[in-house]
Symmetry: D2
Subunit: 259 residues, 4 copies
Amino acid sequence: DAPFALISGPCQLESLEHALMMAERIRDAAEAARTPWIFKASYDKANRSSLEGKRGLGMEKGLEILAEVKARFGCPILTDVHEPGHCARAAEVADLLQIPAFLCRQTDLLLAAGETGAAINVKKGQFLAPWDMANVAAKIASTGNERIMLCERGTSFGYNMLVSDLRSLPIMAETGYPVVFDATHSVQLPGGQGTSSGGQRQFVPPLARAALAVGCAALFIETHEDPDNAPSDGPNMVPVSELPALLARLRAVDDLIKS
Amino acid sequence: DAPFALISGPCQLESLEHALMMAERIRDAAEAARTPWIFKASYDKANRSSLEGKRGLGMEKGLEILAEVKARFGCPILTDVHEPGHCARAAEVADLLQIPAFLCRQTDLLLAAGETGAAINVKKGQFLAPWDMANVAAKIASTGNERIMLCERGTSFGYNMLVSDLRSLPIMAETGYPVVFDATHSVQLPGGQGTSSGGQRQFVPPLARAALAVGCAALFIETHEDPDNAPSDGPNMVPVSELPALLARLRAVDDLIKS
Amino acid sequence: DAPFALISGPCQLESLEHALMMAERIRDAAEAARTPWIFKASYDKANRSSLEGKRGLGMEKGLEILAEVKARFGCPILTDVHEPGHCARAAEVADLLQIPAFLCRQTDLLLAAGETGAAINVKKGQFLAPWDMANVAAKIASTGNERIMLCERGTSFGYNMLVSDLRSLPIMAETGYPVVFDATHSVQLPGGQGTSSGGQRQFVPPLARAALAVGCAALFIETHEDPDNAPSDGPNMVPVSELPALLARLRAVDDLIKS
Amino acid sequence: DAPFALISGPCQLESLEHALMMAERIRDAAEAARTPWIFKASYDKANRSSLEGKRGLGMEKGLEILAEVKARFGCPILTDVHEPGHCARAAEVADLLQIPAFLCRQTDLLLAAGETGAAINVKKGQFLAPWDMANVAAKIASTGNERIMLCERGTSFGYNMLVSDLRSLPIMAETGYPVVFDATHSVQLPGGQGTSSGGQRQFVPPLARAALAVGCAALFIETHEDPDNAPSDGPNMVPVSELPALLARLRAVDDLIKS
């Protein structure tokens, strides 16, 4: 029952300066709360609601920045991959590869990610039951890579809304793999703003506390210094200025539950 | 931010002896955990899945037993009402009247309950959004009775399953009324066993912890000394032998969150 | 494979004159389409979204009007009942008693309705699976009354929305009882307008055609000469001026499917 | 209001002989019902529930077979693509490229498919609202390719079940693009059999009739001579021996609705 780890970052890479600034603020908050942390950012947003959504800096530029963050802060790096052919290159920099929820059933991507030997964080598709993730994990494990994490990020609930079924945490934990709760995307309102997704930032802290009270190995919380002007996921990101207080409280819940 | 109250009992009244035994065990557990408690039992199960489900002892016999529990233990009593004409009589014994979820939109029942002056715990219909409960509360408040509690007990999620959307707790709290989380019926599998409802007892403790971590005023947890042979709700009731340890843990979560 | 019957009326009784006018227009449309018809109206709307919603004329005044419609047009009358004690009186006038969806699990109401000997149209709760209606029907049948109809009126789908799962028609038909599709309430947006329910009138014709294409015994379509100013269900009622063309088209689909 | 087109085939390519046999039987049924038809088969099943599910013959072998079917029967060919890099090669043989539902938000795949100039059938994700498909279509249309079809294939409804919301057909038709109803995958029970998906073959005919009664441009119905032993989608495929009678009936509904 190790303390929970924090996976955090600005969702989408903006620039080297921005990534370093964010990493520093996340590190400070995490260290103050004695919380292991992993820096997360995407170099490409491959599945935006509409074509107008910003895509990102591209793979090579993005990996350069992530490598620099890793060099400066010594933190593990998580980034997401969208095609089998990108996995090996991404894993040269990233310690953890993330499989996006929409892609969690794409066999070739799961196998390619697994073969890199990196740790793999698979988001549970919004269309999947928690018990169906055992099959997803088995695809990765077939490569000999058992460094698998299963991540709850909300389940389709009518149109343009997700619901967080916290039963999924103990159900997915039955696989034996660590379970992550993504408090950021769980409060997304998919497609809820016409050409982009809305979100309910105010529910990140209570749902993150709830997930720790149920029990989980890691929390995924995206953050930004100015979420309302972030290139993606703004409506559901926590302002980085609120991260220290949030983490302190989450640390206390986790300590209590795991005591 | 008062500590959470426990609403607990054996779901359905079986006999005076049984009610007294259950009340004693609940009291002992609640006192050990410094938790205010309310004894809950139904004298009639008016909406069983099928006709074979046991209905209960009837109103007069049931109220006699509840009055005796109240006299012996000095605890507040909660029971549920199903027809406007029953409210006044039930309120002679019960301190809190409960409106069943299926009936939470029945205006006459809400008004009759409100007019008794008793505290009213309204279960949110499985078919309602949390923000729709403001209209339900307003019906009761129109009688001049503001002693209202709003209770989450799960939301329809496909067929034969409910989901606990914990966002509903802060959303309903915006009304200003105390919010209750019913950890027992939230893990019901309605109709899941042919002629009765199934349940997932194993999720009562984690969801109860989660509700307190989000923040709520009371927990509703039915219990029985032999749930597998209880006349109703057995699959989702917690064995009373497990109540002391459960309450101790819940008390710690609540204390932390409200500190 | 008898032709489908039409259950239609203005939802809520407004006055004798209004009821007679509506009945005449419905009769004309039904006769032109060679369609058996049943006049439906409620004397009380017992479960409005909010207290501001108009309740209706009351039982005695309402039944008088329904009796007059029956006398003038010779049509069967359907009205809904909300308490066990009202069933016998309502059945003195009504040929068919309707159990509202929220109340479809209330045993006493089902038994009291069944005992009148009237035909009973039970709406499937928004929270029920179609196969769960067998238990509901069995409660009524236990009174010796087998004149039962099972009615699809939409299923909870996230918040403030229903979905019409047309598989429910053949599934409920396995009970052997005739199945009704309520095209009016299936397109309700419950609670979707703050203190009242919204609706999607434009989907009544396509869903009614779809239900007949799947196969059903009756359609329930509320209508009004001025839906936007009707006291209830306006957003999902079809203007009575459109009923003749709609019925003609529905008749053709039904004839084809049952040929 | 052209008559509906039939998209049909054995889901997964098994061999040249099998493909030719199936094409012949589908052609015979379609011609008897005066129905334009498109042969559909997959050379790769990239998102099986588990690793044990058969993947298919591979791209080159599969495209060879599809080319042969096209040469012999002169029918248009539809196949699905899973990676941007495969689109151009697939479009050398296929007249229509299909975007799988899980991948309907992957921008690079939509653009690569659009750029081939082939017609594109995009399945609506089980996690998407029908109105969200306008953004999906706009991504394809940005390539200058307006030969777009939008396909309903069921929406997530709780766990391990889909529901067909037929309102989606007119809603998606507001884009101006032809709308397809996939009667095969709409009756899938995803993950419902442990390591494969279950299905409800019995609902294919009623839902296909319902979709035509609502109005749509094409039906997608997979078929097999021995569905129970087919390598994929067996539980929801119609036996090819039943196709002629089914098509005749569907033709009649479509003719009536479009008359």
